[in-house]
Each structure stands twice: as C-alpha cells, then as structure tokens.
C-alpha cells in the first residue's frame, strides 16, 4: 500500500504541475495589479479579489492533491454520474440562477461563493466523451457513434446556450479536435475552417461577389479534374451548399445573432468603430497591451490597469495587465507557457495505454487551448469579444477550480498510465 502510494506521486507529471503553478502565480500577481486597492495593499488580504484568488489557489492545490489520491477507476466509473449531475445543474441554473452581466450562469452557494456549472460541464463532457469513445468497437467515423458523440457534446452546449453564455458554448466546439484525433474525417476541420472564412467574407463583401469567386474556383477545379466524376459531383454539391450558406449568412447575421454579438463582429472586422461605446473595451484593451512595449511598465505600474480604463480586467481581460505591465516579454512568456502546456498534454495523451486517458487528455488540451486562443485573441482584436476566462490566470474560483479538476484528473490518469483502466 505504502509502495503504491509512493508510486502514484512518483508517476505524477511534475512538468505539468510546475506549469500549472506558474500560471496560477502569474494570474495571482496580475490580479493583484489589476484590482490593486491602496487600502489593502497586501496580496493576501482577504478583503480583496487578489486575497480571494490566493484562497482559490490554495483550495485548488488541495483539491488537485486529493484527486491524485483518488482511485482512477473511481473517476472512470463516475463519468456518467458527473455528466448527469452537471446537466441537472445546468438545468437548475436556468431556473434559479443569478443573472450576472446578462448571463444566467451562477448558482449562489452562500458565504459569498457562487458556482458556475458551465465551468464544470467542460470537465464532465470530456470525461463522458472519453468514456464513450473508448468503448469497444466504437469508431467515430461511423454515423451512429458520431451522432452519439455529437449528442454528448451538444446537450450541455445547448443548455449553456440557453443561459445564454456564448463563450462557454463555443468552447465545446474545440472538442472537434478530440473527434478528429479519434478518426473523424479531416474534411470536418477543413470544411469548418472554410465556413468560418466564408462567413467572414460574406459579411465583408456583397454576396454576389463572394459567390462569383466561389463559382470561379469551383469551375477551375472541375475543369482540372473533369475526368474524375467523384470530384466533379463533390465540387458541385459543395458549390450548392456554399451558395445557400452565403445567402443565409446575412439572415443568420441579422436574425440569429444578438445585436451586441453583431456589433462585436462588426468591430473586429473593422466595419464599425465605436471607441466610446461598444468598441470601448477592445480599444482600451489594445491600448493597454500595446503600451507595454517590449518590457512593460512594471509591476503595479500599468496606468491603463491601475486606473480602470479596461473593464473586466481581472477576469476576461486579465491579459491586458500582463501585456501592459510585463510587455511583449510577458506576453511571450505566458503564451509560451500555454503552448508548452498543451503540447505537453498532447505528449501525455499519446503515451497513454488506455484510450480513455488519451481521449480525455485531448479533451483537456483542446478546451484549454481554445480558451487561450479566444481569450487572448479577443484582447488584441483578432477575435470578437467573447467572455471566457484565461485558464489558471483569470480571477474566479469556479473557473480555477474547474480547470484544476480538469487538469489533475488527467494527471491522476497519467500517473496510473501503466495500469489498465
């Protein structure tokens, strides 16, 4: 027993733990800078959000430790239960949830703490998806398996969309990487990327011009491969779908999207500029990051940060503080750590014997990476403003705890990689 205990901790991937601790510390210090209160200068003062974040970090580390002590089988076995509980919470939050900033995403737990079920939904979904896909004779490429996998992802996604929390909803799309790794046709990725491109171009340019270009490309390809009937039919079908899509973009854009979402897209595409109103966040965020130059203004010296020019700066816009006070060097460090983390996770995934662990690991990597991409992309104006936290760095107990659980469950599985789950 003592032996096996030792071997558990011995097998833990300390590199990942180290990156985790680095990111938590970076987050804590940047939250300190972002919401610095002269009355409570101490970084562990419980009156303040940085003091609270310290508590969250300690709690998360404890929770992470506990997870490492759990039995792996326990986790696998409880995957469906976690999933169902999460779905219930997501349903409950729609009824009794506290509305924060237009999203009905929070359940008040008393004692000043609030729970955000959507954060845990990511974990539960990854877990159940891994459980399902690792089952015998399940192949994603087959329609039935594919449909079930999509359903596992889709149900919580739909419930979150009802809150409506667009950011967390979109996070679930990142699980397409998991499906791809498990055998989903690469066309899904390519076609997905194509549709995003088509969506953007259709907003920017008149539909007829876009269709004209698509038709030209199709005709060129058809001309080249005219002997290959299959290619010709595929291209023509694709053309038809594209034409329908292009015409429906305006409709989706105008009717399905909410006005504030539309404006955010317009701003990112440079169609609109409203620096005092809807574009204020993004503009101030870019000013904060851009003014950091190479080495930044120094810890607690960011004027944009200190004087609250950037809203939401301890949560969704925490990267502004990094960019402003630590400059490009700081941005590079943080992005480097994230890239290293996700690559490490892929490395961990691939060394697993059990498909369950591997699939779950890919889920974790995809979710974390998607968060990073959207969050940082949003603060520098590459992605429309979508409110999702930066993993381990943004202020917030639910977010930190859920990412910790997500990560440490993987570490637990990994530490047990020699065993059969």
């Amino acid at each position: 027993m003592i032996n096996s205990q030792r071997s558990f901790f011995f097998n833990v991937d300390w590199v990942t733990v180290f990156i985790f601790l680095c990111l938590c510390t970076i987050g804590w210090f940047n939250i300190h800078a972002a919401v610095f209160d002269e009355r409570y200068p101490s970084i562990i003062d419980a009156h303040t959000n940085y003091g609270k974040q310290f508590t969250f970090i300690v709690v998360s580390i404890v929770v992470g430790g506990i997870i490492l002590l759990l039995e792996s089988r326990f986790i696998t076995a409880l995957a469906p239960a976690f999933y169902i509980i999460t779905l219930l919470l997501l349903a409950i939050v729609l009824v009794v949830g506290r509305n924060v900033g237009g999203n009905q995403a929070w359940i008040n737990m008393g004692g000043g703490f609030k729970l955000q079920p959507s954060e845990f939904a990511k974990f539960a979904t990854c877990l159940l998806l891994a459980r399902y896909l690792s089952g015998p004779n399940i192949r994603v490429a087959e329609p039935k398996a594919f449909a079930i996998a999509v359903a596992i992802i889709g149900v919580p996604m739909f419930l979150i969309m009802l809150q409506p929390d667009m950011g967390s909803t979109l996070v679930f799309l990142s699980l397409v990487f998991v499906l791809y790794r498990e055998g989903l046709s690469p066309y899904f990725l390519i076609i997905g990327a194509l549709f995003i491109a088509l969506f953007v171009t259709s907003i920017l340019f008149p539909p007829l011009a876009v269709i004209g270009v698509i038709v030209a490309i199709t005709l060129a390809v058809v001309g080249l491969f005219r002997r290959n009937k299959k290619v010709v039919y595929t291209m023509l079908t694709g053309l038809a779908i594209c034409v329908v899509f292009v015409f429906s973009v305006k409709f989706i854009y105008n009717s399905v999207l909410k006005p504030h979402q539309k404006v955010r897209i317009d701003i990112i595409l440079g169609i609109k500029s409203d620096l005092r109103g809807k574009g204020y966040n993004l503009n101030q965020s870019k000013i904060a990051i851009g003014s950091g130059k190479m080495w930044g203004k120094g810890y607690l010296k960011g004027t944009q940060t200190k004087y609250s020019f950037v809203p939401e700066q301890s949560t969704d816009f925490i990267f502004c503080t990094v960019g402003e006070e630590w400059g490009f060097a700081g941005s590079l460090t943080v992005l480097g750590l994230y890239l290293f983390l996700v690559l490490r996770l892929i490395f961990i995934a691939e060394r697993q014997r059990s498909p369950f662990s591997r699939i779950y690991a890919y889920g974790v990597a995809s979710v974390i990476f998607f968060h990073v991409m959207i969050n940082i992309g949003m603060t520098i104006g590459l992605v429309p403003v979508i409110g999702i936290p930066l993993p381990f760095i943004s202020y917030g107990g639910s977010s930190l705890l859920s990412f910790t659980i997500l990560l440490f469950v993987l570490l637990k599985l990994d530490s047990n990689r020699m065993g059969i789950v």
């Binding site: 498990e182 055998g183 003014s291 944009q304 941005s331 995934a349 990597a365 520098i380 104006g381 590459l382």
Partner: protein, 667 residues
C-alpha cells in the same frame, strides 16, 4: 495508440500556428505600432494650467490703482458627497433649501464624478467662515480665482481692461494662450500684457477612467510653478487724477499732465470716463455694449486719440520757431488794429479787439492773432513767394520736432498722430505753387488743418518748461520690484531751439496768467506760465484749451486741458488746469482772488448737445450721413477743423497721400 497516431502532429501544428499568429499580432501592437503607448499617455494624463496672479498696477506713490481680488468658488463632486447637515451648509453659504436643490441637481447633471461649480464668487469675508468648516463636508472644495478690482475706480482709459482672448490671438501666440484665458485688451493691460500676465505653471496629474484625479504624474517631475505677474508702478498721481476726473465730469475733453524733468505722465484724464469695475466679470459684455452706445463714447481715449486744433496755445511754438530762424527778435513789434491783413484775407483778433502796439511777450499775453499772423507770414515768405513750399517745409519740420504730427510712442496703445499738413496736402487742395502764406495763415494761430492730441500739447509745454527738450512721455515708471526704468525714457529729445529764446516767450506765458487772458486761473503764490486757446471747429462751439507749466523756476508740472465745445480757454480749461497744478504742487487748493472753486467746475455741465455730438462723433455713420459729410468737406476744404470728429473718407485718403513724401524725405 491507434491508427490515427500521426494526427497528433496535425493538432500540435494547428496549436503552434495559432500561437504564432497571436504572437505576431502581439509583436505588432506592442513593439511595431507606437500609437498605443501614445493613447495610453493621453488616457491617463491630465494637464492643468495653474494661473498666476496678474500683476497689480500702482500709482507713482504706491497707491493701488488695480489689484487682484480673490474670489472663492465652492466646487462639488456629487459622487464624493457623504450625507451631511444641509441646513447648516445652506446657512454657511447663505442660500436657501431651494437654492441648494437647484445647484445640486445642476451639478449632478453636469456629471456625478465631475467637479462642478456649486456657488460662484464668494467674497473673502464669506469664505472666511466657510473655509473653517469645509472639511466637514466631503465632496465640497473651494478654489481661488482672481478678478481685477479697482479700489478707487480711476484712470479707466489708462488702465484699460482684460477680457477673454480672441481666436486669432490664440493662433498666433504659439500655444501660450488657450480658449478662455484672459488678456489685456486696451490700455496698460494690453501694452504691458507680457509683464503683467506672469508665467503659467503646469500640473501634470493622472486620472482614472472616470476622470478622477489619482495623484501627480511622475511625482511632479514635469510640473512647473506659476510665476505671478510683475507689479507695474505707473507715473500717475492718483490725487490729481481723481481731481481731474472730478473736474471733468459732465464735460467732454481731456487733461494730460506731465512732469517735465522726467516725462512721467501725472494725470491722464479722459472725459467722460467710466467705472473700470464695470469691465470685470460676467457683466462686462453688457456694460461695454452700453458704453459703445453712449453718445460721448467713454471708451474713446481722448488724451491720445482725440485730435484738436491747438488754437492759440500753439502761439508760443510759432514764436519760438521764428526766434530760432532769426525772423523776429523779442523786440519785434506789430501794431494791431484788431486784425492782420494778408492780401485779401483778414485774420481777426479775438472779439475783434485791437491790441495796439504789441511786442512778442505782450502778443503772447494778449493772444494777439494779428502779431502771430504777421510772424507766420514773415517766416513763410522770407525767401520770397516762390520759395513758399520750401520755407513751409522747413517750418513744418521745426514744428514736428516738438512731437506734433507724429506719435510720441506712448507706452499704451491707440495713439493718434495728430496732423501737421504737408505741402502735398496743399498742392492737392489748391494746385502746385498755388498757395502761399496768406492761404495757410490760420496755421499761425493753431487753426487750419493743424491737429494735436492733448498729450502732444502737454508735451509741448514740457519742452518749453525745459527750455528746449522733452523726455518721452510715459505712463509706467517702473516694472516689477526693481523699479526698472527704460533707457529710452532717460534720453533728452532736443527740439532745435536754443534755450535762450525761451525766456521772452515764457515771460509772455507768465503774463497770460498774471494779467492776460488766463488771469482767472492765477494761483496765489505760484508762478504758472500758460496759454489759453479757443479752438474753433465746425462741430459747434469752440473747444476751450489751456496749456501751462509751473512753477516758472524748476517746473514740476506741465499740463494741457481741453474742454470740448465750451468756448474760450480762459473760461473753462484754464481754471481746471490751475486747480490741478495747485493740488499737485501744494497738496491743497487755496481760495482764489477770482472766487472760482473746484465745486463750481466739478458741478458745471458742459456736455455738448448730444444730437449734435452724435452726428459728428459716432463711428458708424449711416450712408445718408456719410454722403452729407462728404458734401460738406467738398464745399469748404481747408477749414477742416475736425476736433474729435471722425475723419471722413476723403480726409483719410489725403492723409495717406501726405505720408508718402514724408517718408521719402526721412530717408
């Protein structure tokens, strides 16, 4: 592991590619594009200008003419206000509950986090009680502002006024002035603006996203302190200035008194005047509009802007030039039959009085027109009639040496040149060579086209008092605490008359006051030398003119007084001058033999008929009026004795022409 093993490279590749894109973008906005750093600076930095107190202006004895009176504005930032005893607060400010609510709502509308004015311009007395307790009311604060204040309300035209700076001035000031700044607009406030305004300070502070102050930028490294404006000591003597303004009330005209030994102007009276305190604060616009509408135009600076024919007061100068040129001697006599006949032209003496045999001194004393016409004709014709133009030019140059016909370069703006007609002017009026001494004879007695400002007249007296030179007249004798006197004011300006020639003329001038035309203004125990003038003009009754200096030995004051449309110089201008001279020399006014009193003159109303005055004075003439005036000028071109009248178009154009040959001559 399964068959899709290689796909991990694709996924890793996508992740890496996206991170590279993010990094590229970060590199661009953080390092390549400098605009964000600039914007961040603009966001956070708020520069506030610290206004220096404007320099005060004192009289020659250190009495305050204009000072800065502190006012206190109570400011409020509604968001920062904590619950407080409103009743107590209202009592403190002296406002009622309704007034409080009104101000509160206004401040709130102005922006809850904005500092707005709650109560304006508390006086120092009210503020004293407020300031003690202001700290009990968080969110309220006081700021000090300064307004110009004139304790004695004198010398308005000298001091001028300040007002908000005009856009064109802002544009050409090289960034010194900002919209809403104050700048001297007229008078000393304008000409000494650079000295009075001081130097502004800048305070660099940081603000947060809501504009709340967050402390000094870079610990005040780039802050500069405001340097208060320098003090000006004017040459005016507030006592005689006040006396002059009192004597001139209900009259139109001017008094200029100068200390001959320095050129310092002692009195600078322009009548009607106004209370300079009216040109301060928010009512300035309304008040100045009223003044513009005033028929007698109190904003017109008569000591330097009004031009009058000097009339007989010019005679001493005529005599001096003739003596210097050797045309006459003090013993030269003339038998006055009551007129002087030149060709078919006859210049009458005043009231047609026959003075009989007169010499130089008695001619001055009796103001004999005949004598001076004779002298003038002699001067102009001493080289023969053909040389009229040349001799006239010599004569004109001699006159100009006394400072007539050109600006004396006074240290306040708006000075007029006056006029000594050029030969070209007469060529145009008649034809070349078509005029001679008899044609322009009225110049001999200070009439004709000859025009002088009261300042020029007073300066002329300085020159006589000094026996041949004058110091540039000036109104500011010292700048700052160091009593710096400009070098140019220490220079003697010689007029080209040997000092020996002055005695006979001065004898005559003494006689004017002792037994001549100015006898009513004789001051017991003080020998004053003067000359009356009755300046005819076609705007109504003649202007009453008197010029003088006193005492005869070691003169301390030279003075010129003009009372418009009041008839003989002896009746109005001379007594007024005598009171000022006595007040200045003696410090009090003694009873006069003639029985005249200050109160009589102060109370006398000599305002010209307003309708008449309006017609010849107002600046904006209706087209009909212009046409009429033009017709008038065409009819009688040489008797243009304009006085303070508006120069019409024809006149100004000829004057322009007249300037051209003069300039050539100067070179």
């Amino acid at each position: 592991m399964n068959s899709f093993f290689e796909r991990r490279y694709v996924i890793a590749g996508i992740f890496i590619a996206i991170v590279v894109v993010l990094l590229a973008r970060l590199f661009y906005i953080q390092i390549v594009d400098p605009k964000y750093a600039i914007y961040a600076g603009k966001n956070v930095l708020r520069q506030t200008i610290i206004y220096p107190a404007r320099g005060p202006i004192l009289d020659r004895n250190g009495k305050v003419l204009v000072q800065n009176e502190p006012f206190y504005d109570i400011m409020v930032t509604p968001r920062e206000v904590k619950p407080f005893d409103t009743v107590e607060f209202c009592k403190l400010l002296g406002i009622d509950k309704d007034g409080f609510n009104k101000r509160w709502v206004k401040a709130w509308k102005n922006g809850p986090t904005h500092e707005s004015i709650f109560e304006k311009q508390l006086t120092a007395q009210t503020y004293a009680s407020v300031s003690e307790r202001l700290s009990e009311f968080p969110g309220f604060s006081a700021i000090t502002r300064y307004l110009r204040n004139y304790p004695d309300s004198v010398a308005a035209q000298f001091l001028g006024y300040i007002g908000e700076v005009q856009p064109n001035v802002i544009a050409s000031s090289g960034g010194y002035y900002h919209s809403g700044d104050f700048i001297g607009i007229t008078g000393v406030e304008k000409s000494y603006e650079n000295v009075l305004r001081g130097q502004r300070g800048v305070s660099n502070q940081m603000v947060d996203s809501r504009g709340r102050l967050k402390g000094k930028f870079a610990n005040g490294l780039y802050d500069t302190a405001a340097v208060p404006g320098q003090r000006l000591t004017s040459s005016l003597d507030i006592t005689i200035q006040k006396l002059g303004e009192k004597l001139m009330q209900n009259k139109v005209g001017s008094i200029v008194a100068i200390e001959p030994s320095t050129g310092e102007i002692l009195a600078y009276v322009s009548s009607p005047t106004y209370n300079p305190n009216l040109m301060v604060g928010r009512e300035r616009g309304n008040n100045s509009a009223k003044m513009y509408a005033d028929v007698y135009n109190p904003l017109f600076v008569r000591p330097v802007q009004a031009k009058y024919p000097p009339g007989s007061s010019f005679k001493p100068l005529s005599a001096l030039i003739a003596l210097q040129e050797g045309i006459i001697t003090p013993q030269t006599t003339y038998y006055c039959p009551g007129y002087f006949q030149a060709g078919n032209r006859r210049v009458k003496c005043n009231n047609g009085e026959a003075h009989g045999l007169v010499n130089l001194s008695s001619a001055v004393a009796e103001s004999c027109n005949g004598y001076f016409s004779m002298v003038f004709q002699k001067i102009i014709e001493h080289n023969g009639i053909k040389q009229t133009e040349a001799t006239y030019t010599d004569w004109r140059n001699n006159v100009k040496k006394f400072g007539l016909g050109s600006r004396l370069d006074l240290d306040v703006p708006g000075e007029s040149r006056g006029n000594v007609p050029t030969p070209l002017y007469y060529d145009n009026q008649y034809r070349k060579g078509g005029w001679r001494a008899s044609t322009i004879l009225s110049l001999a007695i200070g009439q004709g086209e000859l025009l002088a400002t009261p300042l020029q007249m007073a300066n002329l007296e300085c020159t006589i008092a000094n026996h041949g030179y004058y110091y540039k007249p000036h109104l500011v004798k010292a700048i700052g605490t160091k009593n710096v006197i400009k070098e140019e004011y220490k220079l003697r300006n010689y007029v080209g008359i040997d000092s020996g020639y002055f005695e006979p003329v001065i004898n005559g001038m003494q006689a004017v006051v002792e037994r001549g035309t100015g006898i009513r203004s004789k001051i017991p125990g003080i020998i004053m030398c003067g000359k009356t003038g009755t300046a005819q003009n076609h705007g109504g009754e003649a202007h009453s003119v008197f010029v003088a200096f006193a005492p005869r030995e070691n003169p301390k004051i030279a003075i010129a007084v003009v009372v418009e449309n009041s008839g003989e110089g002896a009746h109005w201008a001379a007594p007024i001058a005598s009171f000022i001279v006595e007040q200045y020399l003696r410090g009090s006014i003694s009873p006069r033999e003639s029985g005249i009193t200050v109160d009589y003159f102060a109370n006398a109303n000599r305002l010209p008929d307003s309708a008449l005055y309006y017609n010849r004075f107002k600046r904006k003439v209706s087209p009909k009026d212009t046409a009429k005036q033009k017709a008038d000028t065409m009819k009688k071109p040489i008797k243009g004795l304009k006085g303070a009248s508006r120069q019409n178009k024809k006149d100004s154009s000829t004057r322009l022409l007249a300037v051209l040959p003069k300039r050539k001559h100067d070179k």
